[in-house]
């Protein structure tokens, strides 16, 4: 197949994945609607029953109460359908990434610009979610995760889309691959951690009397522990990505391992905020809600770094920050200002 063919196929697969995520979201919302019709529970312990069954989480909040068996079956059906569609969407999403990589000449990893980075990031969010689903009994999280993935994917297609281009020479390094893979995985895990921190804040405000979707969400203490686990996974990966692999690559490409480039600065800001989050969990008076806020600030700095900062600063050398400057000499701008007498 030609490169253009691969690119078109990738775009179609992205659209397909988007439709599947959308259908998955509809199914998961239908599950919520049906669950609502099932009698309101006094104590919401849905997640515990979910924990036992892994995939079969679509159990009403009040598994013991005698209610409409039809509704319950429908609820379970929608829940399972939603997860199944999510799984399918992830497969198609991964296929889209693969095609994107094959469309480049020479073939390469699909993260040369913001569009591709967002495409990869959302893929990893969904994939990590599915991987962690059983282990941490996360089915209750599905509607939010799918919603977030779908929104980011739409943002990528509508706002960030860029035609395929080969990496500039400086980006052509194995350390780049390692650096970006690690950064994307960490981003995905931080995003899941951020979602669970937001839910923690909502749930702990509502308390035991929560209704609707929040009734299905685990108790605050469990959410807090889940957030911690996700962050504890993401933080070392991020450390490796931005403080080891990134600097090694930067040294080889630009002769300095740390240059206070805006991307680097924001990667450090994210790191420091998450270090503060981990501290907060061990500091009296900061546990709980304040720590959760720090986690949210952390995820905000993270996404700002690879979407937002490009609109504020134009001095970044990181290539995907400036899709237009694919030429070989990133330093030319600097040269103009230097005086040679």
């Amino acid at each position: 197949m030609t490169d253009a063919g691969w690119e078109a196929l990738s775009n179609q697969a992205v659209a397909g994945a988007g439709v599947l995520y959308f259908l998955a979201l509809l199914a998961l919302l239908a599950e919520l609607v049906v669950a609502r019709r099932v009698a309101e529970p006094a104590d919401a312990t849905a997640y515990e029953s979910g924990a036992a069954g892994g995939l079969t989480v679509a159990i009403g909040p009040d598994a013991e109460a005698p209610t409409d068996a039809d509704d319950r079956r429908r609820e379970a059906f929608f829940g399972r359908l939603g997860l199944l569609l999510t799984g399918l969407a992830v497969v198609v999403h991964g296929f889209a990434l693969l095609c994107r990589g094959l469309a480049a000449d020479p073939n390469r990893v699909p993260w040369g610009n913001m569009y591709e980075f967002t495409l990869s990031g959302t893929f990893w969010i969904a994939l990590l979610f599915l991987v962690a689903l059983r282990r941490f009994a996360l089915a209750w999280m599905a509607p939010v995760v799918v919603g977030v993935v779908l929104s980011l994917l739409m943002l990528a297609v509508l706002v960030l889309y860029a035609p395929i281009a080969p990496l500039t020479e400086a980006l052509n390094s194995p350390w780049l691959v390692i650096h970006v893979v690690a950064a994307i995985i960490a981003t995905a895990a931080f995003t899941l951690g951020g979602i669970s921190s937001v839910l923690y804040l909502l749930k702990s405000r509502e308390g035991a009397s929560s209704k609707g979707y929040l009734a299905r969400v685990p108790a605050p203490a469990d959410l807090d522990r889940l957030s911690y686990r996700l962050h504890a996974f993401a933080f070392p990966v991020w450390t490796f990505a931005v403080l080891i692999a990134g600097p090694i690559w930067a040294y080889e490409a630009w002769s300095r391992y740390w240059g206070w480039d805006p991307k680097e600065v924001w990667a450090l800001i994210t790191w420091v905020v998450y270090a503060a989050y981990l501290h907060a969990r061990a500091t009296a008076g900061w546990r709980g809600r304040k720590a959760a806020w720090l986690a949210i600030v952390g995820v905000a700095t993270l996404w700002f770094n690879f979407v937002g900062i490009n609109y504020f600063s134009s001095t970044s050398q990181h290539a995907y920050a400036a899709p237009a400057s694919h030429h070989a000499s990133p330093e030319v701008g600097n040269l103009l200002g230097e005086s040679r007498t």
Partner: protein, 535 residues
Amino acid sequence: MAVETRERPAARRPGELTFVELLRWCWRQLTSMRTALVLLLLLALAAIPGSVIPQEEVDSLKASQWQDAHPDLTPVYERLGLFDVYGTPWFAAIYLLLTISLIGCFVPRIAVYAKALRSQPPATPRRLDRLPDHATYRTDETPDQVLARARALLAGQRIRRTDPDADSVSAERGQLREAGNLLFHVSVLVVMAGFAIGSLFGYQGGMIVVVGNGMSNDLTSYDDFNPGSLFGEEDLDDFYLDIEDFDVEWMTSGPAQGQARKFVSHVRYAEDGGEPEEYDLRVNHPLTIGDTGVFLIGHGYAPVITIRDGNGDVAYSGPTVFLPEDPSFRSIGVVKAPDARPQQIGLEGWFFPTYAFTEETGPFSVFGDAKNPAISMQAYVGDLGMDAGRSQSVYVLDKSDVELVESPDGSMFRVDLALGDTVDLPNGAGSVTFEGLERWNKLQVSQTPGRWLTLVGVVLALLGLLGSLFIRPRRTWVRARRDEQGDTLVEVAVLARAGGDDVSTVLADLLAALKQDEQDEQNEQDEQHEREEPR
């Protein structure tokens, strides 16, 4: 404190602190977790302006453009150091306080940890049912059987040595977590030290070298040079380097048509007057000579231009570096001929590697490779302002005392030349010849001492972090004793000592194992009975 009060009974009001106490209070505040947290957040906050405002150290051109565009804000920002955020005293204050806090926090922790390593796991608390995760069950086994099994099950952990007839087992695991935490924080200090060494004793420099030429490593070779404050000129490594040849591969098809790929400089270098060696210098594949790294970070064209003056003498001749402006390598450049007589001559304009022209676009370059090279420049005559002794950028023409050369009829005059062509300037001012085409490489040359220390530091920090985040310290107690009915009452408790740990399943597993083994032994005994029975 009591002693001091007695010495100066009248001077004290309740709540008043002596100076020493005040110091001690400050120290305790500074080294508290809360302060560390606040300082970390401050550090994050303080780093932000440097990412939004152009930094002189990062991109001096952007910084000066910004300053020109904001004449009102610039003096204020300058006073606050906002053009060099990461070198300002207030930024330094934050990380220095953090460092002090870190040292103050961790020196005592190391001592505490060393002591904890040598001491035994703590004695079993009297009331295990006060702990959040505990369980009890009864069995008809003897306490000794239960405790022996508990010891076997907890064999991987540190177990408190007790006298033989004690009624409980106390075990502890995961002490390495604190070691990880200590290693992480100490390594952060190592990283900071390595970074400081690099910025104080290292330097960054850049130069443009025309292919076929070379450089020797002394200050005059550098176009820009940024030394650390403790770097001395004598620290420069003694070597020379010639760029003998340069290859570029151009993409002639596909979506990336026109891009340069795989550019390689074939260099020859020698250190300390030694034997010359060869190296293929590529992007991402730096050359290391002694302590110095040489990096290829860019390339471009240097048209060879000759200017003859009004007297017919050669006033300038040689390759002139033009700076690429876009992916097609349309490049901008300036040629200055201060020796031209009667008037100095300057040229300013573009070089197009593959020249093309349409009415709508004007001249442009179709391709980065030099398929149809041409220059298109404007000529100026007059005083180029080079005699005043002021330093002047070679890429900028000072137009204050020159005038644009026009055709005799007053229409626009351009020096538009294909390779090999010559054009006469109007009014006998001279002529310009586009003689040939050379290429240049932009080299970045730097010394970064301490970078291995930094690398070792972050790797150790990461290892420490993994230990700190994934090792789960726990204490486990099993107590077994006879109750009034003659049964054995077994109490089990597990205590999580790290946040984010959930020991309920650990407790359940331990209970199950304790009981399971009991079952197994029962079964074994039963089997033995069965086997024995036939006899």
